[in-house]
């Protein structure tokens, strides 16, 4: 894929057909995830979507009860907003007359949401599989268990899509 800034507030994403199909598959998975009730998610994912706003001496959220409730509300709203975005993008894909490449124009805010959603998918897989730092450093192709190997490969591939959308952020001489 490529991501080109066409004017100060607009980016043009272009996906070859097979990458577009992959991204739409990811969006569909995300849509199903966003639809789920947070309370019914596995504990690690529930913590990701709810969690505690406080840490250290404030980890019990004493004195932060109101903020904790507002965070929970904001997180639920975010899932609902992202579900709507997923539905819009899938619908645009289905209606697109040209799919090679599939072209999507995004504002700065939409571009941020797009990468944050791809990151949600990476986090979802990692939390479901209990992925560790060692897993991320290891050769994914060499992982014997199919589900784990596919999951970590998907995390890697989505990382490439995120970087292709944002461009490198760290200066490497």
């Amino acid at each position: 894929m490529t991501c080109e800034q066409v004017n100060p507030g607009l980016w043009q994403l272009r996906f070859p057909e097979h990458e577009a199909a992959f991204i739409v598959h990811v969006l569909a998975q995300l849509g199903r995830h966003y639809e789920q009730d947070i309370g019914k998610l596995p504990p690690a994912l529930r913590a990701y979507w709810q969690g505690s706003i406080g840490s250290g001496e404030t980890s019990d959220a004493k004195g932060l009860q109101e903020e904790q409730e507002m965070l929970a509300e904001a997180r639920a709203e975010l899932r609902s907003d992202r579900l709507a975005m997923v539905e819009t993008w899938i619908s645009e894909y289905e209606l697109a007359k040209k799919l090679d490449p599939w072209e999507v124009a995004l504002t700065g805010v939409e571009r941020d949401e797009f990468v944050a959603m791809l990151n949600d998918r990476r986090m979802q897989i990692a939390l479901e599989l209990g992925v560790t730092e060692a897993d991320m450093d290891a050769d994914a192709e060499a992982i014997p268990e199919d589900k784990r190997r596919h999951g970590i490969l998907e995390i890697d591939v989505l990382g490439h899509f995120i970087l292709a959308t944002l461009g490198p952020q760290i200066y490497r001489p």
């Binding site: 840490s55 250290g56 903020e67 904001a74 986090m123 990382g159 995120i162 952020q169």
Partner: protein, 130 residues
């Protein structure tokens, strides 16, 4: 000891008792002006003092095995308006030490920053500044 006294140091006299007006320098640092030097109107000073003392909450980002380094730098630059050097330094601190304190702000501002960082999938919390 009140929180304000604690932040100033218990034995330090308040500026008013010593007849010295507080003033704020660039970056929010509190300095003492001697009598007769230029001072802001009392109301501004009071507001600025309140704001400085209210910035008693820190925003912390915690390490995780999945978020990409470049992505984390992008998020710090976007949410906290950091320059590349600062964003990169904080990213490395998270990666190597397990966490980094990104900001010291008011409770409301800290809450807003935590919400935005979490929206990008980073593990962020807030706590009372020591």
């Amino acid at each position: 000891m009140s929180q304000v006294e604690s932040m100033l140091g218990a034995k330090r006299l308040t500026p008013q008792r010593r007849g010295i007006e507080p003033r704020f320098e660039a970056g929010g640092a509190l300095a003492m002006a001697q009598p007769g030097t230029e001072t802001s109107p009392d109301v501004d000073v009071e507001e600025k003092l309140k704001e400085a003392f209210a910035r008693g909450w820190t925003v912390i980002v915690w390490n995780d095995p999945v978020n990409l380094m470049d992505y984390v730098v992008y998020v710090f630059k976007t949410v906290l308006k950091m320059n590349e050097q600062d964003a990169t330094r904080h990213m490395w601190e998270v990666h190597q030490k397990g966490k980094s304190v990104l900001a010291q702000e008011t409770k409301e501002k800290s809450e807003s920053i935590v919400h935005r960082l979490r929206g990008f999938g980073l593990s962020a919390t807030m706590e009372k500044a020591p």
